[in-house]
Subunit: 185 residues, 4 copies
DNA sequence: GATGAATGAGTCTTCATTCAT
DNA sequence: AATGAATGAAGACTCATTCAT
């Protein structure tokens, strides 16, 4: 049945379990059992448990890196920032379980080797949408816009309604927040 | 030698470590060593590791319960909702490490016995600030206002400036978001 | 409420729990909780956990010692042996939980300091009812008579009927076994 | 180095220690040390400590199950009952340490998951050798016959003589007891 | 006559990891 | 590409025991 896809299947199952129960509470035994292979098999594909997380992060986190690279070459206009929001929104949608995992396991992620990278990326992104000369409130608005997207899952489970519709509303609110932070422009 | 404050000291150290490294990565040995007592001493004061978290939650989480109780008796006006934001903002400020722990260890908290309670409280609060007849975007605004406060720590570490000033700005943005969701009123 | 009788109450509860769950599985915490005192209180009355068993054994096991002392001065006739059975039967009835405990926890008792004494006593008793010149089968009969009494509880729970009636029947069978071992007399 | 016999070796050592010192007083550390493996190795072969006992019980207790199955299809004549005694005698001889363990650790066994099964089997067997219409004394005789075998070890250590000869005598006494319970037939 | 607080040694158990096959 | 067998380190937890008050 399965041929070269075992590595992929490990990633899938691992991400699912990590997101559901957290990294530390998910044991390699559990992952192996779900896949009906032995723990040792996991070690054929990944050097360590942490390696699995790293692989998830670099496979699924790439779009965010690309977004940052793109943004760094744009002028820091309101329109650019709105586009950042739109792209970030899309990136999140494409790797929801990974971002859920990261959002809900920050304490863990911080202690992992990817922690640093992760934090840097978020800081970079936050820096890009802020205007250093704006008022404190406006700077908070910009970061909050970003964060609203990032916490979309959370926000959305607290509101009733169609999934798609909520997702659009979240983006709308974020963009609006961003615009209000630039009322002068 | 030691007075009746050991229980309190355990809670303090535990909360600090839980918030810093997460619940699972913090061992009772670590807590005991910091306090210079034996692991068994912890068990004199708390039945299980989970019990420590539960005690933190019920000691420090009380203000939020009181807030909910109060809010349930108010009319659902804009002013009430703004007051909810102010009070929630104050409650968070009073137990920042606990909320940081909960925010950053959601996957863990979910698997703990307090998880249910915690989720209920957040859902109740989210329900109270929303107007069921409002547009989807406005409902998202309300929840996002709450969440902005809740994630204050996160937001604030991404913005430079004086701690106090940022804290006020966060509340201001939240209140403003809430107001915008009630433009008709 | 309780005055000088705490020691007695400890013994009662301890014996009950030891008989039900065994010596090692019964913790001092359990005993203390049942009595609604602290573990430390137990240590006021008994030096160690083993001391509790020892006290039970010397308080309740005395009748058997007396029986042995008495028997040692009698001629080894069939009638003496039947009287031993009757007296042993009575001694068992008077301290059923203790004998149940000893019977069902032999491995434990063996490792306790009383173990030696206990075994000696049983061996002495077994020696007294046997006739060294009898056939092997008859010697087994004598020991089996003793043992049938000793295992009365066990035997009796495998047979339906009135408690008292069964108890008498057990003694009858034991006496009959003993008589058959002495057919010549 | 080691072949597939580790599981078996664990069972052997465990049974020996359980029989000698009891289940609770035998630690996995002790078992592991005797085998010169780590405790974790035990867990590769058995899920829990209790699992070791369960495995012993189902490996070595099978003959008794077979005996019961066989007996259920026989007419309840005296001859059948004597054959039950003979077969039970043989079954016990084949797994003496296990039965010694069970006999001497009844309180423990009762609290283990196998306890129920064990008790059921003994009750079934006791039910099969009794004649419900017989006198109470005769019913006790039947059960006592069974029990005499079961306690053979105990009986035999209280009697001097050759092991084999005693074993035969025990069976003889048991058969005789059974016969006496059926004098009319 | 008893408690509150604590300890040290030990329990069972789980985990990530290794390696010969 | 994967397994069977095992390890070392660590985990949470329990226990009998002590002692100042």
């Amino acid at each position: 049945m399965s041929r070269g896809n075992t590595r992929q299947r490990i990633q899938d199952v691992a991400l699912e379990l990590f997101a559901e129960h957290g990294y530390e509470k998910t044991s390699l035994r559990e992952i192996a059992e779900r896949l009906d292979v032995t723990k040792a098999a996991l070690y054929y594909h990944f050097k360590t448990k942490e390696d699995i997380v790293i692989s998830l992060f670099s496979d699924l986190g790439r779009p965010v890196d690309e977004l940052i690279a793109w943004a760094e070459e744009q002028p820091p206009t309101l329109e650019t920032k709105r586009e950042i929001l739109r792209r970030y929104h899309a990136a999140l949608a494409g790797a929801r379980p990974l971002f859920r995992f990261m959002h809900e396991n920050q304490a863990t992620v911080r202690d992992l080797s990817i922690g640093e990278t992760f934090k840097e990326r978020m800081t970079t992104l936050a820096g890009m949408v802020q205007d250093p000369d704006a008022s404190m409130a406006d700077r908070v608005r910009c970061v909050s816009a970003l964060f609203t997207l990032h916490a979309g899952l959370w926000v959305m489970q607290a509101v009733d309604g169609d999934q798609e519709e909520k997702s659009r509303a979240v983006l709308e609110v974020a963009e609006d927040l961003m615009s209000r932070a630039h009322h002068g422009e």
